[in-house]
Symmetry: C2
Subunit: 156 residues, 2 copies
């Protein structure tokens, strides 16, 4: 047994388990892909969170959504939807309006300008994702999706 770099402290730490390796790879891969997405969004002046919210609002259609519902649909939960929407509203990409029936809720809708920005981004983003994952053929992508779903199964 060669002794090179066997610091006494090191030996005490158990070897990293497979689960830790999964987590590490998840982080690295997500970070790598996300970075390129943000690069693509930068010219439009959107963060990926803002982009995500705009897509949610487009998906919701003309009747709009309440803050809470937006929060529930987001990819990466943000505890402060209010100010996120403030910024989008300041840029004219969404409008807000208090609900008349229940005056607690504020309804948010995407504006035509917001829709235009999204439309201009649709194809570049789809193209990017295709390029990012072009190494993998459909069956592998499907396994990946299935494994990712399973990985977060049994969780609130």
């Amino acid at each position: 047994m060669t002794a090179r770099r066997l610091h006494q402290k090191r030996r005490q730490r158990p070897a990293p388990g497979l689960e830790d390796v999964v987590f590490l790879n998840l982080m690295r891969t997500t970070d790598a892909l996300l970075r390129e997405v943000e690069e693509t969004l930068k010219p439009a002046g959107l963060s990926h969170t803002q982009y995500n919210v705009l897509r949610i609002l487009r998906g919701a259609g003309p009747q709009g959504l309440a803050c809470r519902e937006i929060g529930e649909r987001m990819l990466t939960r943000d505890p402060d939807i209010t100010r996120l929407l403030d910024r989008l509203e300041a840029h004219g990409l969404v409008t807000r309006q208090r609900e008349r029936t229940d005056r607690r809720v504020v309804n948010t809708r995407i504006t035509p300008q917001g829709l235009r920005i999204l439309e201009k981004l649709d194809e570049p983003i789809a193209e990017l994702h295709r390029r990012q994952l072009r190494h993998l053929r459909a069956p592998r992508l499907q396994s990946l999706v299935r494994l990712l779903e399973q990985a977060r199964e049994g969780r609130p």
Copy 2:
């Protein structure tokens, strides 16, 4: 063909490709797992980025590392290592010292206190990861790792 919710705008958007679904699931899964990790780190007063850096420094051993090297090893690239280390230094978890041979570089080392904190977290974090992924047996975890590696292949 039923007409319910066929808004004219909707039809124009192409159905989301498989690659988009992969990306969505990556984001969701990473977010879900990371959230619980941060929950576990909170009592120790560390963000996951800080935790990551401490682990890198522990791995580097007593000779320490330069900022740039830390940056290269991080899971999620941070453009401002300086202030991240400032905070860790303020909490007494790392020390910094200008290199004598090359006075441009600043060497950062983890302190005994930093090591103690890490040691207290090692088992809870490993346990969490095991729990998070207990649905999946080793072969699946291995496929997942392989697919994640492939997904970020051919990239800087």
